[in-house]
């Protein structure tokens, strides 16, 4: 079995491959050639480098390739790299975004001005906090009381009226609280509280929620903590769905209600009250407070929202889908004179 010619590797002296000194001989080679090769292989150098010569280097190559590839991909993944001046952060509300109006207006603005608008849709409350912190450049919100405070505190400038729509009180057609047809929303709220019929609130500091709170105040009722008053913390669409499922009352903007109407088991019970007007303003974040704010972009956007062409788009938005417009353009008007 152990015939040398067949197994020349047996001829290798022990320690061939681990040899510390440089001249190693190799399997199947003979003569001086091996001496040269053996010395130059790097095996002999293994006692100087803790990682050995070649073996440790080999795994490094794929690693560095991978890291380079990753960096490249991450940069690539960043998408269109817009310059700082070209980015505009618009903080607005979920209901505004959900209406779909911005999906029409923003591309128009971008095409006209070249700005890249990042529309961040959150609740009015959060939008204004973003403005306070300078994390947004311009706001499009509909929470008048809070907006006034915002501007008064110096966080916003050039608060201007853009458009309005209205809220409606919706509920089950059976109307257990008997509020249908009432002319004053506050009165309806009062009756709902008196009858202790379930009311669903968004409870998320949104514009709708602020409006609702205002109505409770006008009705002289504090619904907090009462069993019939439930807060979802969710968006308008979801809240409407839940209200429909549970057959409760809720306050909604007309736009969202119309969009979901066919799936909902709710009817409009109270509408038309001046207090139910949902008024939208555009506010530029004050660059004096935060110098990183893109004030040029904010100004351009505000101007765009008030421009006649834009206002015309707003006027006709939604007519095809819902039969009636979702918003009423109000640029240039005085707030007190709004109303149907």
């Amino acid at each position: 079995m152990l015939l040398d010619p067949v197994f020349p590797c047996l001829l290798l002296p022990a320690g061939t491959f681990g040899r510390i000194d440089a001249d190693a001989s190799m399997c199947r080679r003979t003569g001086s050639k091996e001496r040269q090769d053996g010395g130059g292989r790097g095996r002999g150098r293994s006692d100087h480098l803790p990682g050995g010569g070649d073996p440790a280097m080999k795994p490094m190559k794929p690693l560095s390739i991978i890291s380079a590839a990753l960096l490249f991909l991450t940069v690539l993944g960043a998408g269109p790299v817009a310059g700082q001046q070209k980015n505009l952060i618009l903080a607005t509300t979920t209901s505004t975004q959900d209406s779909g109006l911005l999906d029409v207006l923003i591309p128009l603005f971008e095409k006209r001005t070249g700005y890249f608008v990042k529309t961040i849709a959150v609740g009015s409350g959060q939008a204004m906090v973003m403005g306070e912190k300078g994390e947004a450049d311009v706001l499009l919100v509909h929470s008048p009381e809070a907006e006034v405070k915002f501007v008064a505190a110096g966080y916003g400038i050039n608060r201007r009226l853009v458009m309005h729509n209205d809220f409606v009180i919706v509920g089950p057609a059976a109307d257990p609280a008997g509020v249908s047809g009432l002319k004053r929303a506050a009165e309806a709220f009062g009756k709902i509280a008196a009858r202790q019929t379930t009311f669903l609130s968004r409870g998320d500091n949104s514009g709708t929620h602020a409006e609702e709170r205002g109505l409770w105040k006008a009705a002289g009722v504090n619904p907090e903590g009462q069993k019939w008053y439930q807060q979802t913390g969710l968006g308008m669409g979801e809240t409407l769905n839940i209200a429909s499922e549970k057959r409760t009352y809720t306050l909604s903007d007309r736009g969202t209600y119309l969009a979901l109407k066919k799936r909902l088991d709710l009817a409009v019970l109270v509408e038309g009250d001046r207090q139910l007007l949902n008024i939208y303003h555009v506010i530029e974040v004050n660059p004096a407070k935060w110098h990183k704010v893109n004030s040029a972009g904010a100004r351009a956007f505000a101007a765009f929202m008030l421009a006649p062409e834009t206002q015309a788009v707003i006027k006709t938005f939604g007519v095809d889908t819902f039969g009636s417009p979702l918003f009423f353009p109000d640029a240039g008007k005085e707030e007190e004179r709004l109303g149907r």
Binding site: L2, C9, L10, A14, F17, I20, D47, P50, G52, P55
Partner: protein, 379 residues
């Protein structure tokens, strides 16, 4: 062969764990080309010693010299480790093909592909597993896997091969052929090998020198026959299968022999050696050296045997135990005595429990150890 100086010299090796000393070897040298086996019971520190010698177990006290260079300072640890190869009881193969496994040591060292390939193929063939080279390591049987593991270690052509109970997890059918192959390979390659086992037979077959370990210390180290026939203390004696160990007291001297009375019996055994009278000693008698005879059954031939054996005792068989190729016979001759006889002899003499026999052994077959445990003087 090697120039002056041993291949490995270990001084003052000491390992403490949890307050207990699990290894304490003041000096150990390993000559180039020799096969040295370490035997001992479980927990004797054999594996610890092997791990220490390969610089795998840290921390430890002591210094290690390889070809005269100190490992860790003159000689970097990695370079030293690359001069070694190790295989354990479990094959510990990698989850890839057999070929990849055997070549891994070479690949780690950056050996070029052609050299690597021929080395791997040769060693696979040497261990008889050439046909398995493309098989997945997971699909091998225990015996095949262990052969691959050994091929992997040998393919490196190490300066020192360390084997930790390499045949330990094999069934007898796979073990025997592998031991034979290993014997041939070790002989042919003259690789310096340190191997650990608890099987005395293995170590006798494969090694030049045997080291008996107990509780972290080397009790005795020397050529196989020395350790077997002249154990240094009671522990080594019993571990190397001495069979009969008796306590006795020197009665009188008889020239070059002494007469020793066996404690607890009225008998006296004659043994070579020189010990002062009255000294308490241990008598070690290897079972292979105890011959048994029975009366032939022929009437009138009750003559006492004329034999050169100075020790003749009659006794009765207390137990017959099979030990593979021979039988172990326990006797009661006034003191317990163990003998090995071949199967044929056992049958021929009709050795069964209770049978009366005459046991004989020479004075030279008795090895005396001073009772306190100090090495007795070996002839």
């Amino acid at each position: 062969m090697s120039p002056a100086g041993p291949l490995i010299e270990a001084r003052g090796l000491r390992v403490e764990r949890g307050g207990a000393v699990i290894l304490d070897v003041p000096l150990l040298t390993v000559e180039e080309g020799e096969v040295l086996s370490f035997i001992g019971p479980n927990g004797a520190g054999k594996t610890t010693l092997l791990q220490t010698l390969s610089y795998l177990l840290r921390p430890f006290e002591g210094t290690l010299l390889f070809r005269g260079r100190k490992v860790g300072s003159d000689l970097p640890v990695l370079a030293y480790r690359r001069a070694l190869a190790m295989a354990s009881q479990e094959p510990l193969l990698f989850d890839t093909t057999v070929f990849e496994n055997v070549s891994s040591g070479l690949r780690i060292r950056g050996v070029p592909k052609r050299e690597m390939r021929s080395a791997v193929l040769d060693w696979l063939a040497l261990f008889g597993v050439g046909g398995l080279k493309d098989r997945s390591a997971r699909s091998l049987s225990g015996g095949e896997a262990q052969r691959v593991s050994l091929a992997r270690a040998f393919a490196i052509r190490p300066d020192v091969m360390l084997l930790d109970e390499p045949f330990g997890s094999l069934d007898p059918r796979s073990r025997e052929p592998l031991i034979e192959d290993m014997q041939a390979i070790l002989k042919k390659t003259r690789t310096t090998t340190l191997f650990v086992t608890h099987d005395l037979m293995e170590s006798l077959r494969l090694s030049d020198r045997i080291a008996v370990m107990d509780r972290g210390r080397i009790c005795q180290i020397g050529p196989a026959d020395k350790v077997l026939n002249a154990p240094v203390d009671e522990f080594v004696a019993s571990f190397v299968g001495t069979g009969t160990i008796l306590k006795g007291r020197i009665l009188r001297e008889n020239g070059d022999t002494v007469l020793v009375s066996v404690s607890g019996s009225g008998e006296a055994i004659e043994s070579v050696g020189a010990f002062p009278v009255g000294e308490t000693v241990l008598l070690c008698i290897r079972p292979e050296n105890v011959t048994l005879s029975v009366p032939s059954g022929r009437a009138g031939s009750e003559d006492p045997l004329l034999t050169s054996a100075r020790n003749l005792f009659s006794g009765a068989v207390t137990r017959v135990s099979p030990m593979g190729f021979y039988q172990r016979i326990d006797l009661d001759c006034g003191f317990p005595l163990v003998s090995y006889v071949t199967l044929q002899s056992c049958e021929a003499l009709k050795l069964t429990e209770g049978r009366r026999v005459t046991a004989s052994f020479k004075a030279t077959a008795v090895h005396m150890i001073k009772k306190t445990g100090d090495p007795g003087e070996n002839p």
